[in-house]
Symmetry: C2
Subunit: 325 residues, 2 copies
């Protein structure tokens, strides 16, 4: 069976490896011919506005997914006319714009930080941070004044005194079955995920339950199929939703070795309409991202993405089992 993946960064690459392990044929599409995910024999490199290339790519796929939320809607829509696209367009539309996303999350009854849409040059309220509405990731497109941002509409978000950050990865099957990985503590630095600890330690049981409920609401509202991540701030011992990611998520890379079924396999199982695998944890795990450089030779068990090194770039990860046997 042929599974299309729009985007061939490290997430596309890991999805492709998982697809190969399941005996599937991954077909990757990325505008960058150097994209690290273009590892499989079925790889296409063309711009997202190359309708002919997208059509050729999509024809004959059994299902298609995307590795990140910034795939242009027009490209995703074209593909979705030729084969099932999962998760669908609504999840993509909601999460491409920080304003739309916050409004959607609030409409789900979830608490977000205070926010205010602003246009370039608008006065900036104190006590917050400006973020571009589109195409921000890994701390890029953020600042405290307009000089640090592109000349585009932005979103001001009130700063919150966060105690820690956590992420909930959940998955919904085609038939509506929902499974949850344990809540994960994430440790960021300069806007980049550095470490993830699973399960997140020292949290009231109610918070685990609330995070699951929040993810379930989002999944059901979007009639979502596949893996979804919700990122939370913990403030005054309460969860505040920071953002959603309609895809496999960096905080879940430990599931490849630390849980019964990895987030990658479960995402594929969901979009193929297969029964999901257990999300139970095998080993309490600690994920360490390799950022900017990778040791050579890599430590045993490391996952290296084959990207050229650059400061602040995620190049690989390693999963440590926190209770070694």
């Amino acid at each position: 069976m042929k599974v299309g993946i729009l985007g061939a960064g490290q997430l596309g690459r890991m999805l492709a490896l998982s697809a190969l392990q399941l005996g599937l044929t991954p077909c990757l599409f990325d505008p960058d011919p150097q994209a690290c995910g273009l590892i499989a024999s079925h790889s296409t490199s063309a711009p997202y506005n190359d309708r002919q290339a997208l059509t050729t790519f999509a024809q004959g796929l059994d299902v298609c997914t995307y590795e990140f939320e910034n795939v242009p809607i027009e490209a995703a829509a074209l593909v979705s006319n030729l084969c099932p696209l999962r998760p669908g367009l609504p999840a993509l539309e909601v999460s491409q714009d920080r304003l739309t996303e916050k409004q959607f999350l609030q409409s789900c009854g979830l608490t977000t930080t205070d926010f205010l849409p602003l246009n370039p040059g608008d006065p900036i309220p104190p006590g917050g941070l400006l973020k571009t509405r589109r195409l921000g990731y890994d701390g890029k497109g953020q600042g405290t004044d307009w000089s640090h941002l592109p000349d585009q509409p932005a979103l001001w978000e009130r700063w919150v005194p966060l105690q820690k950050e956590v992420a909930q990865i959940a998955i919904r099957s085609l038939s509506g079955e929902i499974h949850f990985y344990p809540l994960i503590q994430t440790i960021q630095s300069q806007g980049i995920l550095r470490e993830a600890i699973a399960p997140a330690p020292d949290l009231r049981p109610e918070l685990h339950q609330q995070a699951r409920q929040a993810a379930q609401t989002v999944l059901e509202r979007l009639d979502y199929v596949g893996v979804l991540a919700l990122e939370f701030f913990l403030v005054d011992d309460q969860l505040i939703v920071n953002e959603m990611a309609p895809r496999v998520h960096n905080s879940g890379h430990w599931t490849d070795r630390g849980s019964h079924t990895s987030q990658f396999e479960n995402h594929l199982r969901a979009i193929l309409g297969w029964p999901l695998g257990s999300t139970a944890i095998l080993q309490p795990s600690r994920l360490i991202n390799l950022v900017g450089e990778v040791p050579f030779p890599p430590p045993p068990g490391a996952h290296i993405y084959g990207k050229s090194p650059r400061p602040g770039r995620k190049l690989g990860h390693i999963t440590l089992f926190t209770e070694p046997t």
Copy 2:
């Protein structure tokens, strides 16, 4: 770094997946254009006697290995003149012929079954089995009379009343460091591995030690680099060497999830001259081969090789953790 793999069956495929995970570029070579391991973007399909294709394949490789012992010596020798070939030619030469292999194992001081080289038509002693000297695998090329065998020299082996079968997988680094996976019980049916249990239960501690010692002797005698498997019969509570496999081994597929470092990664680490990873077990594991057919959809965690189904053909495997958490 480019790692060449001669042979692209399921073992080549799993080595390639492991190489990709380590950020390496696997380059596969197989005469069969449908070989299931030809998944990576660097794949060559040409006959083993196509010297030009082999030369093009080998040039620019950092190191080359083989996925099985029946790669023609001439092809392996050609490659070994262009890049390091690990394990080297001696392991290949010894293990391509059952007679040479038995004689070598005896010269290492190991106990084998009684054997007798025979030519077609020679009288067959009672109480044993005829096996082709070359190209036998998965129970093929075996029989009790000449009518079941090709018209070639064969080896008669005395039947032994075996209690069980076990396999020792060991690995030797370029610097001579040796690590051992736990001894594995293997369960065969019609000459095909069906299940493997790690660690092998109910064995005297001395047997674990003897199996390691046997593997160490073979590794050092051959100045071997990479993963080696030794298969044993247990007879009268004593180990008798059945055969050696100079490669990653079916009985070790559980190491992908059940040990700290998989046999595939450790084989690659060894041939690249990197320090080995821990061979410690993470979870007592039970490997089940999927032979002849695979359930659809595959069970969670299954590894499916993408081969066309055929009776008696190994199509995939699944690792069960025998003490679920």
